[in-house]
Amino acid sequence: MDFEDTPEEAAFRLTVRAWIDANAPRHLEEELRRANFGSSGVASEDPIAAGKAWQKKKSEAGWACLHWPKEYGGGARTPIERVIWGQEEGPYGALSGPFVIGHGMCGPTVMTWATEEQKRTLLPPLASGEHIWCQLFSEPAGGSDLAGLRTRAVKADDGSGDWIINGQKIWTSGAQHSDWGLLITRTDPDVPKHKGLTMFFLSMKTPGVDVRPIKQANGASGFNEVYFTDVRIPDAQRLGAVGQGWEVSLTTLMNERLSIGSGMSTGFPELFRFCLDAEIDGRPAVEDASVRSKLAQFAVRQSGLKYTGMRAITALSKGETPGPENSIGKLVAGATMQDLAIYALDLQGQSGVLCDETSPQNGRFQAMLLRSPATRIEGGSDEILRNIIGERVLGLPGDIRVDKSVPFKDIPTSGQRKS
């Protein structure tokens, strides 16, 4: 056991480090390092423009989308090289936030299902940061139950082969900045729910697409509602066969859960630093026995995630496929962060209620408190993740389903329950 690079990995790391040293936007480093929880990283300039500039620079030097083939604008690097890149990119990685969904999920889906010509047109500008993509999946009626979605795609009756889209998506991250979207629709309500879906891609500037930011519970607006009113798109923008949308969506969702070694934040290092400074009865908080017990439990969750990531990287480094242990990442990080934020405020006493200039660490824990409920829901809720662990890792049977073989239109929904 060791934490050392192989000679090849060490050489690659040096190459990466030299390039980043010479090319990264150094003037943003301090700001990115101190960036508050849940913020986009930079405030001194337009975060989208700063992200696009960094992505373009990386792309020109061959450092964009390391996991993609070169012909589509990628770097054709191994998984372990990708991990090393991420470690070396450090705080600058946050600049790529606007591209995470496009590079990690939409791109791989397009790569699997689009025509060669479409791939060569769509993917390079996505890799280089010229285009931003969003994922138009969740709906008011279908979140965890994604296949319950109701946005309709109907063949135009003019013989053009075009599709007419009507409906509403919700929780679409970054839709307001996006050039393209990956859209899943219902094309046949008369067959069981998973069989009547079809996937498309479309320009977000297509007439009839209306993006409305959602004011979230924490006051910010990272997510959007996207309305479709008689949006017409050509059949050529279909991905996979008509009725194959569920299968296509699984490509996307599998990629969503493949972010390995990314080590989600729990907020523990920040809480630990706070407890070194904070006082309880005139003594440093870390000297208090009850504080120590709490901190220790947070600490082992943080380090457990860290070393779970390293076990996955070990597998990659040996050319193996990591095991299912990485599936615990978001489940642990989300709940830990929420509990930790509540505890940090508790240690602040009555002043914990405040988020102003007196709040420790610029109000980081208050921001965490208000944002963390979303972490436990987005990208697979805690409950869905537990089902996945139970069924795919532990091999338990699926729940009994009352909606699987019923035509979609006959499935009861909230608000229009059928007897």
Partner: protein, 374 residues
């Protein structure tokens, strides 16, 4: 980056697992639970023969001279089957004490016997209720003779010698080696929540004691020994946690209620998923501890406490929920769930309680630097 065991270490694991499947069945553990012997002598002799007791003891002292990573692998397997043998007392604690600070004569005399299982050692720290602290050590050595009472001492009735923390004539805490079979020692077996592991009260009345390591350095040495033992015991706990999860999963697949396997209910599935999460976190933290132990890293105090806290939490969590998933059957004497529940709660207290280790973890992180936290 390599946070995994080597192929050879994995082969050792398979070998030990096969051996234990044959030699340490649930029936063998029950035989100890039901009384008769305090530990499984045949199994212990078998483990010695296999060479695993001496895995981390150098060949010059009669061991196999592999290393601590191999001992971690063995510990996990012992934990999976709740092996009713004094390995933690004799190997993780007594042998490690001697390896760390024993004199040449002490090592030459005792280590070969510990490796071959012909002698058993133990470690006597606690003196009754409450958290152990240097100022609570009441046992005293005067003129080379130890007097005082230690309890509980794991495997105290079966050990040939104990490494004992006691005050010297200058009132400093030192470590002593005391033969338990000689004069001035009386021992009494104690009842515990886990009868598959022996506990004793040992009363010393002017028992001959020889110092181990530097006089006055006892607490410091004991701390280092406990750190090493904590990593090894964390692997036992990890093995127990994994096995508890497997038992619960298997039962959830086989037990039918309301016309379906109970594992198809989310109420059960989510309990099992949470057990998997805590066992996985513990495994990763244990590997961190193994790395620190195996490489002699300066981070060992933090890594050991991390592994210990995580593995204690995981084993307790998994063993109690194993009973819960089994329902009423899990609370019968006939089902094995309670054996794991007993062991998990026993191991949680051996080497010092969870809250003690939690406190030490944070103290050590403060003494190190903030970087450790990231």
């Amino acid at each position: 980056m390599n946070l995994d065991f080597s192929d050879e270490q994995k082969q050792l694991r398979d070998q030990v697992r096969r051996f234990l499947a044959e030699r340490c069945s649930p029936a063998a553990v029950r035989a100890i639970l039901e009384g008769g012997e305090r530990y499984d002598k045949k199994l212990y002799a078998g483990l010695a023969e296999l060479g695993v007791l001496g895995a981390a003891i150098p060949e010059v002292y009669g061991g196999v001279g592999l290393g601590h990573l191999e001992l971690c692998v063995v510990a996990e397997e012992l934990g999976r089957v709740l092996a009713p043998v004094p390995v933690s007392s004799s190997i993780y604690l007594a042998a490690e004490s001697l390896l760390l600070s024993g004199s040449q004569a002490q090592k030459t005399e005792w280590l070969p016997k510990l490796a071959s299982g012909t002698a058993i050692g133990t470690f006597a720290l606690a003196e009754g209720q409450g958290r152990a602290r240097p100022d609570k050590i009441g046992c005293r050595v005067s003129g080379g003779k130890l007097s005082g009472t230690k309890l509980p001492v794991a495997d105290g009735c079966d050990a040939d010698f104990a490494i004992v923390l006691a005050r010297d004539e200058q009132d400093k805490v030192s470590l002593y080696l005391v033969r338990l079979t000689g004069e001035g020692v009386s021992r009494q077996a104690l009842e515990s929540i886990d009868p598959t592991r022996g506990q004793a009260r040992i009363v010393f009345d002017r028992a001959p004691a020889e110092v181990v390591g530097q006089p006055g350095d006892g607490w410091n040495i004991a701390t280092q020994v406990l750190d090493r033992a904590a990593v090894l015991m964390a692997f036992e706990q990890l093995g127990g946690a994994d096995r508890s999860l497997e038992m619960a999963r298997d039962y959830a697949l086989e037990r039918m209620a309301f016309g379906r396997p109970i594992g198809s209910f989310q109420a059960i599935k989510h309990i099992l998923a949470d057990m998997y999460v805590s066992a996985t976190l513990a495994r990763s933290n244990c590997y961190y501890g193994a790395w620190a132990l195996g490489s002699g890293a300066a981070e060992l105090p933090v890594a050991a406490a991390t592994a210990r806290v995580s593995a204690t939490t995981a084993f307790q969590h998994c063993s109690k929920n194993n009973i819960q998933v089994h329902g009423g059957m899990g609370f019968t004497w006939a089902f094995d769930c309670h054996l794991f529940y007993r062991r998990s709660n026993g191991l949680a207290l051996a080497l010092g309680s969870l809250s003690t280790w939690e406190s030490q973890l944070i103290e050590r992180m403060c003494a190190g630097n903030v970087e450790t936290a990231a």
